[in-house]
């Protein structure tokens, strides 16, 4: 029987690349694609794939919250997280969310097949940096990194994180309400609670928080061209 894989990434061009890579492997098929976290959850529940591959930086619902929600629905889902960065914080959050594989996007062509094979054989797959971090945690403290060194647990609930991401992406309360099938008044209440809990006074603070906590990701432009030095007259 074929191994069925669900792909979730907001860029169709990336999904095409991933599909081409995975379908070269005999016995694997991509059973579905999703372009954001909400669609990924819907399709995973509908298609019941063997492996779900999720990009961290997706609109509407990011990959980490998608992983958390998927595993709340059914802890048997096997999730591989694709990321553009392997910072300590992202690693900790991915482990904490329950991902069983962690692959850098830049290394996906090399590592993704190994990651899916690992999950197929009921093992986990992490990049060398993740392994180092987890090992360092065990050696130094005798306990897992996530227990000892992780930053404070997020003070926001899952729903509040979803709303924070949507607001930081530029949606109004009315638009958030429509996306989540809630009333505008309920969203406004969540919004006030979020601002109060985090002691924020502006949407700008919320955007910075969302970026720092990987709820949204941005790509910075390259540095400007170095101006030519002064020339002698």
């Amino acid at each position: 029987m074929k191994l069925r894989i669900l792909l979730a990434d907001d860029h169709e061009i990336v999904r095409r690349g991933l599909r081409a890579l995975l379908e070269k492997h005999e016995g694997w098929e991509v059973c579905g694609e999703a372009s954001d976290g909400r669609e990924a959850i819907e399709k995973a529940l509908q298609l019941n794939p063997d492996v779900v591959i999720v990009d961290i930086g997706m609109p509407n619902l990011n990959g980490l919250d998608t992983t958390r929600q998927l595993l709340q629905h059914d802890p048997h889902f096997k999730v591989i997280v694709l990321t553009i960065t392997d910072s300590d914080q992202v690693i900790r959050e991915a482990l904490d969310a329950g991902a069983r594989g962690f692959v850098l996007k830049s290394d996906a062509a090399r590592d993704l097949v190994s990651a899916v094979e690992a999950l197929q054989n009921k093992r986990m797959f992490f990049t060398p940096r993740v392994n180092d971090l987890v090992l360092a945690g065990f050696l130094e403290k005798g306990q897992t990194v996530s227990r000892n060194e992780a930053p404070k647990l997020p003070t926001l609930t899952a729903r509040e994180r979803e709303i924070t991401q949507l607001l930081a992406e530029g949606n109004s309360s009315k638009e958030v309400a429509s996306l989540l099938n809630l009333s505008t008044k309920t969203v406004e209440t969540h919004r006030s609670n979020i601002m109060r809990k985090l002691s924020f006074h502006s949407i700008r603070d919320l955007v910075v928080y969302a970026i720092k906590n990987n709820l949204i990701q941005i790509e910075l432009p390259p540095p400007p061209k170095t101006p030519a030095g002064p020339t002698a007259a």
Binding site: E12, I13, R16, L21, S106, A108, P221
Partner: protein, 137 residues
């Protein structure tokens, strides 16, 4: 019409996606790939493609610098940026650097073929992710 294309992006999975899309078009051929601007400059010189599909943010040398260098040495080669940067300022910089086309990555699957077709005929093709229609002139 045969078009020979060089694909440049630091993520091989993105190169693979672009290649799959481009090679689905009859007569078009991806003749090479590069993972950064410096490699792009070298391969542009060696392979002389008709069109280069180029990312902006890459290690070693970014796409804007590569574009300026390539335009200086190969004025007939057309350059099309495919980038994450959904910004009019970046689009202006890309065109000033000598590119003929600008497509936002999230729209690449929709716009790439039309963009390559346009720039290969030395026309300008630009589109941002703001709901506006692509501009071809």
């Amino acid at each position: 019409m045969t078009i020979r294309i060089l694909v440049v992006d630091d993520h091989s999975i993105v190169r693979q996606g672009l290649k799959t899309l481009l090679e689905g078009h009859s007569g078009w051929e991806v003749i090479g790939e590069a993972a950064d601007g410096a490699e792009a400059v070298e391969k542009a010189r060696n392979l002389s493609p008709d069109v280069m599909v180029l990312d902006v943010t890459m290690p070693r040398m970014n796409g804007l610098e590569a574009c300026r260098l390539i335009r200086r040495h190969s004025p007939d080669m057309e350059i099309l940026f495919v980038t994450q940067h959904d910004s009019p300022q970046m689009m202006r910089e890309a065109l000033e650097a000598g590119a003929r086309g600008y497509v936002v990555k999230s729209n690449a699957a929709r716009d790439l073929l039309a963009a390559v077709e346009a720039v290969s005929q030395h026309r300008v093709f630009t589109t941002l992710n703001d709901g506006s229609y692509p501009q071809v002139r």
